[in-house]
Amino acid sequence: MDLIFLAQQFLNGASFAMTLFLVAVGLTLIFGLMDVLNLAHGTFYLIGAYIGLSVVKTTGNFWLALVVAPVAVALLGYAVEIALIRPLYARGHLDQVLLTLGLAFVLADQARHVWGAFEEAIPAPPGLVGVLALGPLFYPKYRLFVIAFGLVAAGVLWVLIERTRWGAVIRAGVSNRTMVRSLGIDINRVFAHTFAFGCGLAALAGVVAGPIIGVAPGLDAEILMLALIVVVTGGLGSLSGSFWGAILIGQADTFGKALLPDFSLFFIFGVMALVLLYRPGGLLAKGGP
């Protein structure tokens, strides 16, 4: 095992981690603010990837797909929030979990009938095909783009949440919903926007990961599982938690696959178990368990 191999795996892990971060952050934002665990999150990822695939196929323009798919899925999420999730706020976790579970079944079934049951990959944009020489290391350009894209997205999200009024309202809503409402802010509207935003992020991740991971039925459940593991490991409802959680799980998965291909699943599970053993609330949980 030489240094080049290690560097390659590290970059693979980083690009996978950035995808995971984009998926997980939507899930954790929605949960943190609204207390809604969205089991259809993986399905929104898949539908985003499918829409992206269709756009690239018809127009040949990857960058257009990168805009159209998140917007379309965000609109879908907006409608879902208003029509189905809003009536359930008074009822608690179980009903929201159940509703999004039913939604995941319906949407996955519909997606299978619209896009078929084949496995496909979204073609990478022409400028990002091929490899780049980093000294002695040759590395796919597109994966480097994913790493950069993820880091920029993390920065933008951080600014949005820590430095804007919208972010301030969300952070306030996470800690005290009643207080936000009594300040005269229409919390229902903030919820709808956040839900739509989170779904859009899942779709964005679907398009970005499309050239690497591909698009296939069944991917929704796999992505949901990975996003849940990232969120649980990083700490529920925390932006930086999902970032560091994604890096940890992304690297664990990649190095697990490279070193012990048959046991890579136990690698990520082992990392999660270890973290939870010492911090039951996750890496960056606020307060105790």
Binding site: D109, L224, V232
Partner: protein, 341 residues
């Protein structure tokens, strides 16, 4: 039980037991499937409806029972009295490991971990080709022996019926006993029970292991009766379906899950053969409807109708008496275990 209730139960059991006398063969196979998923859903309901634990990966224990019993039947002995108990113990052991670790965390994290573990085992079943047969599943599981007769469809149905009734009877006794009352107490107000000196963790873990073992019974029957078991039995779709069965049937009743299993299997078999390939969409929409407007499921609707007829009042849908969300801003106390109103 009151006298009419006893009579109704007796009639229902007699009706189910008489099925092999008049029903066509294919119906018996479907009925056995309903009973087997009924066992699995009932076991999950011990956690969901009675202990208040939302476990989202229950299919993993179902399938573990199926795979272990199937492997044993295939490679060692098809003796029913060996394969089925070993399948149950294996599922319970898995539940012990997962539960000991997942129950350390809060409610939502618990849900997430159980779901993630289930998906991980699904992936394992696909990858561990030499043992599990990969995505084709474990094929050629021999029919169970040791029951004195050759196992044809009517007899397998009767075995499934006996197993279901045993599970029902056992859980009924269990829930009436102090152990079961404690579980319901944990659902209603965990903090109070802890303050009373009850070892809440141990009770939850016991319920989790018990539910896992009973799900393993369902899986062991499933694998041996069908002659195969596939990774799709571990997938989160299966776990979700078990949950859907409970909610459609009725979360606070023992027979609810069986009714729900009947509805789901009927939708799957009837809708896909008669109406449309999109039976999953139909099932999902029916389920969403129940979540939105009929929270007590079919059993709740029945009770509402009963009350309405007795009082001559318009039908009002029952509210499901589950706990209110612990983390809600309008609950004033900082204590997360404010009792449900």
């Amino acid at each position: 039980m009151t006298v009419p209730a006893r009579l109704a139960t007796l009639l229902a059991v007699a009706g189910l037991a008489s099925l092999p006398l008049w029903a066509p063969r294919f119906l018996l196979t479907v009925a056995a499937e309903v009973l087997i998923f009924g066992i699995a859903a009932t076991s999950l309901n011990l956690l969901l409806g009675y202990t208040g634990l939302i476990s989202m990966g229950h299919a993993a224990y179902f399938a573990t029972g199926g795979y272990v019993a199937g492997l044993l039947a295939k490679h060692v002995t098809p003796l029913f009295w060996a394969t089925t108990p070993v399948g149950m113990v294996a599922a319970a052991a898995l539940a012990l490991v997962v539960g000991a670790f997942a129950l350390r965390t809060a409610a939502v994290t618990f849900l997430m971990i159980t779901l993630a573990v289930g998906q991980m085992l699904y992936a394992l079943a696909i990858k561990w080709r030499t043992v599990t047969g990969g995505s084709d599943g474990l094929l050629g599981i021999p029919k169970p022996t040791g029951l004195g007769v050759e196992m044809d469809a009517p007899r397998m149905y009767l075995v499934a019926l006996v197993c279901y009734l045993l599970v029902l009877w056992f859980l009924r006794r269990l829930l009436a006993a102090p152990f079961g009352r404690t579980l319901v107490g944990i659902r209603e107000n965990e903090g109070r029970l802890r303050a009373l000196g009850c070892n809440v963790q141990a009770y939850k873990l016991a319920a989790f292991v018990l539910a896992g073992g009973l799900a393993g019974l369902g899986g062991a029957l499933f694998g041996q009766f069908n002659g195969f078991i596939a990774p799709s039995e571990i997938h989160w779709h299966r776990s979700g379906q078990l949950m859907i069965m409970i909610i459609i049937g009725g979360v606070h009743s023992l027979i609810g899950p069986l009714l729900g299993a009947f509805v789901v299997v009927a939708i799957q078999d009837l809708v896909s053969s008669l109406l449309t390939q999109r039976w999953m969409t139909v099932m999902g929409l029916v389920f969403i409807g129940f979540v939105l407007v009929a929270r007590g499921g079919l059993v709740g609707l029945w009770h509402a109708l009963h009350r309405a007829v007795r009082r001559g009042l318009p039908v009002s849908l029952p509210a499901r008496p589950l706990r209110r969300p612990a983390r809600d801003a309008d609950v004033p106390a900082p204590d997360a275990d404010v009792p449900a109103k």
